[in-house]
Amino acid sequence: MSRIEFRDVRHAYPPPPGQAPVYALKEVSQVWEDGGAYALLGPSGCGKTTLLNIISGLLTPSEGSIRFDERDVTGLPTSERQIAQVFQFPVVYDTMSVFDNLAFPLRNRGMPESRVSQRVTEIAEMLDLSERLGQRASGLTADGKQKISLGRGLVREDVNAILFDEPLTVIDPHLKWQLRSKLKELHQQIGVTMIYVTHDQVEALTFADKVVVMHDGGVVQVGSPVELFNRPRHTFVGYFIGSPGMNILPCSLDRGQPVFANNLLSSGYPVDTDLSGKLEIGIRPEFIRFSDDGIAVEIQKVEDLGRYQVVTVRHESSQIKMLVGEDQAIPSEDPKISFDPDNLRIYCDDWVVESAHA
């Protein structure tokens, strides 16, 4: 087990001849503490898988270095890095039985056979594969095969980290919950670093202590689920996390306070007035209320989701989503809304603007 560090890692896949390389990963410096449960969250194509493959050594980064406990492993082949990785689609060795599949990584490293069978039995028990140990792996269903893939990732105890690349995509929803909590439980038991790639925020927020949000080849924020929700550092984080996502609205500044559509708002903290760039305010739907005075809006749509309602309102050209409790009335005439100043963030060119006096 070790602490994994990325130093100024960039990666570009080989471009078609005659074209400039496009960086799939732009300048990532990041430390993965030993024993942490991380989730790597981001939309498809943002560089998550590239980052994983660099850790496991399937890809060598174009620039920068990776260190395991201060040891530079950038040039080390995959087989010597002691990393387990589970892919999105099941990979099993079709020619072997389920037992042999699970035992394979252990036998390759010369573990005595008695220990191998003990370990395999333990893991099989955990994944409900005990009854199938003798079967040929090629006859299993997709989720059975994926369980083998998971098992093969978990079976080794000496790994530096276990990487999961959207491992539960092919698994039934009810089993998904079960397996995810098993993974979490296992993490607490064995304390090995786990990095879990997903584009599903619920998965990321329930699995991880630390969520790393990626956008367009870069890491935009690292934090606990609560931090990501309350203090998104980038408009993308605000928009991507939360359901529905944060409202991002154009604004201007007046004496350190934001102005949205000719309404002077209070943001709870003053900012420098000489900011240049695209200015926006971000406000989560949870922190918008109907009020007697405020911004006049026109109600477009009300979706009842049971415990609360999602109300879509419009002010001039801006669409705003807000959450209203099921017991709260929606005003029928002249609706006006106001924003909670403590939860209003100001963004300049998509990055959050911190207080001028902090």
């Binding site: 080989p14 001849p17 493959n53 496991s56 050594g57 399937l58 082949p77 995959t78 087989s79 990393i83 387990a84 990785q85 892919f87 689609f89 990979v91 060795y93 079709d94 020619t95 394979f104 990584p105 390759n108 490293r109 893939s149 093969r152």
Partner: protein, 265 residues
């Protein structure tokens, strides 16, 4: 009444008729064949087969053919395996053009190459050896094998390779222990087609041999001997040439369909 079976039955009869003709002729004497048409042998005889199995000029033809066909299949498949792996897994400058160019090798009739091959193999003293024919047949069998194997390999996800590295295998061990067993079906199909094409190819085989490595097909062209046409003998030899192909196709019958589904056969 359901009459769906009539058309296929007629078609199969139409296909089987020449084979039946050949088979029935092989049990006739040459005189009976020349005498007139009969559907069943009037004087049933095994003499034709006895002659083939006892006369070295005949049975050596089969042995020679089998030797160079097997050598060729072995070379073609073992060379095509790494090549197909490269085409299926790596992107390199001009990979698609090269892959297509391989196929174009199959478009030229073998006759085009007969003369240069004859000169070349005579010069390096390979003329009239099994190896000469086996190597000559690689010209069209390697591209074919690469083409078939690439299809099968591309059906195996790249993650299998990556998982094996993660599990601690080096590339050569992975390739031999994991990858080859996984695409065994593809190898079977590729080997079958190499075998077939090499077995039926006559022109190069005949040009590059004289005595020691003479293939059966070349022997069969010399049926007009001092004792006249030996049509019964020819029919028996012809019937026997069908057998090796039938045996090989029996083993790969289930995989051929998969190969067709991949569009690679």
């Amino acid at each position: 009444m359901n009459k769906k079976w009539i058309l296929p039955t007629l078609y199969i009869l139409f296909l089987m008729l020449p084979i039946y003709g050949l088979l029935s002729m092989s049990f006739k004497t040459t005189n009976e064949i020349l005498g007139g048409f009969s559907f069943f042998p009037q004087q049933f005889t095994l003499a034709n087969y006895t002659k083939i199995f006892t006369d070295p000029t005949w049975y050596n033809g089969y042995i020679n053919s089998l030797i160079y066909v097997c050598i060729n299949t072995l070379i073609s498949v073992s060379v095509a395996l790494p090549a197909a792996y490269a085409f299926s897994r790596y992107r390199f400058l001009g990979d698609k053009h090269l892959f297509f160019w391989l196929l174009t090798n199959r478009m030229a009739p073998p006759a085009v190459f007969a003369l240069p091959f004859f000169q070349l193999y005579s010069a390096i003293e390979l003329f009239d050896t099994h190896l000469a024919v086996a190597l000559a047949h690689c010209l069209f069998n390697i591209p074919l094998a690469v083409w078939i194997l690439e299809g099968f390999m591309s059906g195996i996800p790249k993650e299998l390779d990556e998982t094996a590295y993660l599990d601690g295998y080096s590339f050569p061990r992975f390739f031999i222990r994991i990858f080859i067993p996984t695409i065994a079906a593809g190898i079977g199909v590729a080997a079958f087609f190499c075998f077939m094409y090499s077995w039926v190819e006559l022109l190069l085989a005949k040009t590059l041999t004289s005595v020691d490595a003479k293939p059966i097909a070349a022997t069969m062209t010399r049926t007009a001997s001092t004792s006249g046409y030996e049509l019964g003998l020819l029919a028996a030899a012809g019937s026997l040439t069908i057998i090796p192909g039938a045996i090989v196709i029996y083993f790969v019958r289930n995989y051929i369909a998969k190969g067709f589904a991949l569009g690679r056969v």
